[in-house]
Symmetry: C2
């Protein structure tokens, strides 16, 4: 049976949790899947060879950053993003929408698009749905995203207007898209209003995208609000297409997201935490800067199979951190990414074996999201 | 035939150039050999797994730095330096002498030792020949160094006094040494005076060390002066023991050193240059920050077999540098270390095949030490 690209095979469902396969031109994604983020065409401090050893299958890169530096034309001239950063496996680019709203120095939204100033040099730029797609086509990721507006979830009046604009932009993105080897995902918005989320999920689902993203979450709302929104949209997104929860990646959020039907996650958290000496363990987050680890002969997490945990002690890692050695960021990033990749792989196996609900409950009961005193 | 540790087998000589094997408890060193430097128990930005892939066989670490942070007792408690940094192959520690003179905030030399202030926090410390050996025994490298004074080569009057003190300290180091699984090397000093260098080489050689180091070079003298000093000491150091030229590591210095009988080199140059975007190539040094590389599809050096050159373009590396991504330091360090390790391996092969003189002349005629415009 030949695999068709951008088809999603739902293999097993337990409650709302799903195990599946999403077929892309650069390989199959076994879902649920966690994607580390390579903001500027590199997962910070980690080589592609290390990412492969970690078992990462999907890498996200940011359109906003690559558009500003080195520019989409240069990436295209160098053979596209896969070739440029030498990641021959599936890739995803976002639309630039989120960064325009979170990073750019100033921004002005109109019906046609967004004018903003670069956070690098203050120069003025403009993104429209059409230009975002054009840039993403030059970058060449397997999965690309519709240009959307990510608005403050607590500004209910604005959210409604913003959602309407995001819907219009989604239609324009579909029309602008031309490459057959890229899957364009539509993005559900609607803030923390169940009614708006329902409307958005229904509308976006009606446009026939090969996959759907849930945007505008993990941006300041509570965990309970995020989970509630996932439950709302879950009912309206088609089962035969993958669902991607954008920018979400703490261990507990992954477990809760999978429980509510999410297939794809991405987040800078594992690499950002690593650069601040924080590491995931099976029962909670720790900070390796803590003096109590100076004499510690054990690995970050005795249950982890990553290069860092197979090789180095907490005492050595603390020494690297205290000595401001770059290797600390590399080694803890390897661990943190492996932790999330492995967590999601374990979740998938549990779904296949019909024991995900128990697995999730056990994990959530044990895992301490906040850093322990150490 | 059982190998005896710390014996040196001279396999082949061509002119003064030597190919040999030095046996250590953590493996055989095929000499000539270049050792990357892991100042604070890590070769900056490079994992031990990457160092193994590079083909590095010997790593140097700095007693001064490790004494200050994390402390020799902690390293000993963690199983020693090999175990602490997970480098299971041969290691060398210097005596701390050079760093006391080059890094410490202030220093006061007396006949017994040196009192100095830490460059980290200004606290006062004291090294003596005995304490340097004691620290190096706690660290546990295979090759350890006598405590010496590295004086300004242009201060002839001071150099004579300093050399006399270094000789007395060498004898005290020999008496202080207790571990049978470490080889203590004596250090020849004498500045840029042929007569003092001769005296120092004769005296140090008379003490019966298993290996000899040549210190106080590459510290401000000219290349011609360094080469002249190597030629002087070469005649007085015994052929049946290895010679180590401390802190020297530019490509042209390695070629010139081997030509004058040197077996072991170490230098921070490949990793320090990498953090400043400079890379070795077969015909000279380049700086990858240069705008001319932005669109370059080629590797750093088409003749190099390292991971970086097999995988990434100059255009991508330049993007990482411009974007201030840590991965740039890792990838260029891998290349620069491999370049020197490979250069020295190639030199060894040339000696074995009796064509080193031609190889050296060809390399020195082609290689441009200063960064090209690119």
């Amino acid at each position: 049976m030949e695999k068709q690209i951008f088809t999603y095979d739902l293999i097993k469902k337990e409650g709302q949790a799903r195990a599946g396969v999403f077929h892309t031109p650069h390989g199959d994604l076994l879902t649920p899947v966690f994607a580390p983020v390579g903001t500027q065409a590199t997962v910070k401090a980690v080589t592609p060879a290390q990412l492969e050893e970690i078992g990462a299958s999907l890498v996200l890169s940011n359109t906003y950053h690559l558009y500003l530096r080195p520019g989409a034309d240069l990436v295209a001239e160098m053979g596209g993003l896969h070739e440029f950063m030498r990641w021959p496996h599936p890739m995803l680019t976002d639309s630039g929408g989120f960064q325009v709203f979170s990073l750019a120095d100033t921004r002005q939204v109109d019906e046609e698009g967004v004018t903003f100033k670069s956070h690098i040099d203050g120069s003025t730029h403009r993104f429209t749905p059409e230009s975002s797609i054009q840039i993403q086509e030059k970058l060449g990721a397997d999965i690309i995203m519709a240009f959307d507006e990510c608005a403050d979830p607590n500004n209910q009046a604005y959210i409604r207007d913003s959602m309407r604009r995001t819907h219009a932009w989604a239609e324009r993105c579909l029309r602008a898209k031309s490459r057959p080897d890229q899957a364009l995902f539509g993005i559900v918005q609607g803030g923390i209003s169940p009614e708006l989320r329902r409307q958005s999920a229904e509308f976006i689902a009606s446009l026939g995208f090969p996959g759907h993203a849930i945007g505008g979450l993990s941006v300041g709302e509570t965990k309970a609000e995020m989970n509630a929104m996932l439950e709302v949209v879950n009912d309206f997104l088609p089962q035969e297409k993958p669902r991607y929860l954008m920018g979400v990646g703490s261990p507990e959020d992954l477990i809760n997201g999978i429980l509510r039907g999410v297939d794809i996650f991405d987040c800078v958290l594992p690499t950002r935490l690593a650069r601040h000496a924080a590491a995931f363990t099976h029962d909670g987050r720790i900070n390796l800067m803590n003096a109590s680890y100076a004499h510690d002969h054990g690995p970050i997490d005795p249950q982890c199979d990553c290069y860092t945990c197979r090789t180095f002690t907490r005492g050595y890692l603390r020494h690297l951190i205290v000595s401001k050695e770059m290797l600390a960021a590399t080694l803890i990033s390897i661990h943190n990414i492996r932790f999330l990749v492995s967590l999601v792989q374990t979740a998938r196996q549990a779904i296949l074996e019909d024991r995900y609900t128990d697995f999730a409950a056990g994990f959530l009961a044990r895992y301490q999201p906040r850093a322990k005193k150490g």
